[in-house]
Subunit: 279 residues, 2 copies
DNA sequence: GCGATTTTGTGAACGTATTCACAAGTGGTT
DNA sequence: AACCACTTGTGAATACGTTCACAAAATCGC
């Protein structure tokens, strides 16, 4: 997965200061303002003494596991709807497309509640995973950039179904301001601060064109938003404390293209080898 | 990624044999059409003899590297537009949000063409990366499911800009068939086979509701498509030889939610520790 | 209650990915 | 030509992630 994985790149600073964000030629690395960082206690979470509290296992859930937990949750919801009460690691794993040992290890990170010889209770797992992912709290989302993609996202009900609700739609284009979508009115991006405060927004979703994304991102950060989902095809610079996840459609296609290419090459290589062997 | 990242899940096997896929009540993954698989030569690419051709370094580019190459390409295109001719690993890395050693190692996989003391020529890198990712070939894409998201994808110009072009739009809803979007007419999904043959489609993009996705996927596979980008919120079952990448918006939000949660907890923990220390 | 069977939870082995750190080139300057 | 500042390319070290394999529960049938 990866990829997607680190998300908190280099550089920082919202405001002007180092306006040379990516400057001319080389200024990319430019003056890295390391400001903030003040708090974070070291990030690598030393090992906790064996005296740690027994109940809260959810320290140190590996990143890769987190992504899969969300996936398990999806599969489990489906099972629950079908009235399935218990599920074995083997069943759940194959429905999620992962190795069952991997699944068990993942679940063990949240202080697993399975029963040997039986499996896991679907309801219990759902509850534990939701707790770990923080889905019991209701999280408000602001969506910025109401173009084609923004429209689609605003209308996407997959958000609402799991504790997220879109609380604000923002766009810079006066023509779009005032439009009503999915029960919300599009507001101007300059009202971002109010909108975020009003609805206690925790997550910003950027669906603007690339050229506007960094500015929108900086504004979100300065409003205190520390989690951003970025659909704009570019790398955002943010302070360490802000978590950015990028969804890049063109890159996904390029990765697929690579695999197509490789299949082709291996066919060619096989053919060549065959000829060589035969010649 | 993440993540996002493995994409070719567990199991397979065409025939019955291990019919016990996932059992009854728990039949989440249901009747998986496992057809095909016929060809694939073994997937794990044994080690090649040391006599391998010297020029084609592109065997064994690690998965994680591939994802980043696409990212570098994006950054490099931006630099090229700005007229930048050479770039150092440090500059490029920080613009892409990765470690510079990591970047150099990535580039070394494609038989790097940098100059010590100077850096890389932007144009050369672009060319090498495009070659490695197979972007020199023109790749036709079929998009299935023309709802909100499908519309947005059909209109997204980020596809066209890098060697991909949407060759067919398909939907199961007769109401949508006939609609014209971005110069294409929506055809009925039953015409998939013709459409794919006509345009030599290499990649399928699924933007249908979850309940239709597996069926569409099976059809794509039976038409010989071996690369699929799946936006439907579910795990697709496919033969080993087919590469699936999933883009799941709700899961992205849930991962962000987890990090929000963790920040919160660490604040709470710090507070508690502080009190304990003080008390 | 006991053995057969199932399935969890996890140590250990393995594999992949990232980062460090530095020798070896390169171009520019004197 | 000798030096300096810079930057690549890569071995070695480290970190992270997955899979294996099996002991330790748990249930069931008798």
């Amino acid at each position: 997965m990866t990829e997607q994985q680190d998300a908190t790149p280099a550089d920082t600073k919202p405001g002007g200061l180092d306006g040379s964000r990516v400057g001319r030629a080389r200024a990319a690395a430019g003056a890295l303002s390391r400001a903030m960082r003040s708090t974070l206690p070291g990030r690598s979470e030393p090992r906790h003494p064996p005296t740690a509290a027994p109940a809260d296992q959810q320290r140190s859930v590996p990143e890769a596991t987190v992504a899969r937990l969300a996936l398990y949750l999806r599969v489990l919801s489906g099972l629950a709807e079908q009235g399935v009460v218990t599920v074995s690691s083997e069943e759940l794993a194959s429905a999620a497309g992962v190795n069952s040992a991997n699944l068990r290890k993942d679940l063990s990170h949240l202080g697993s509640y399975g029963t040997r010889g039986v499996g896991y209770e679907v309801a219990v797992l759902v509850e534990r995973i939701e707790g770990t992912l923080g889905l019991t709290r209701h999280r408000a989302v602001a969506l910025i950039g109401i173009g084609n993609l923004g429209h689609a996202l605003a209308g996407y009900d997959g958000f609402a179904t799991r504790g997220f609700h879109i609380a604000a739609l923002l766009d810079a284009d006066p023509v779009r301001v005032g439009e009503r979508i999915a029960g919300l009115t599009v507001r101007h991006v300059d009202e971002m601060a109010e909108a975020i405060r009003e609805h206690d927004v925790a997550i910003g979703v950027i669906a603007t064109p690339a050229h506007a994304a960094q500015d929108v991102c900086d504004r979100l950060v300065s409003c205190g938003v520390t989690s951003i989902l970025n659909f704009a095809p570019m790398v955002l610079a943010v302070p360490d404390a802000v978590e950015v996840r990028r969804v890049d459609l063109a890159i996904e296609l390029q990765i697929l293209s690579f695999h197509e290419q490789r299949k082709l090459e291996s066919v060619v290589a096989l053919g060549r080898d065959g000829l060589e062997a035969a010649g």
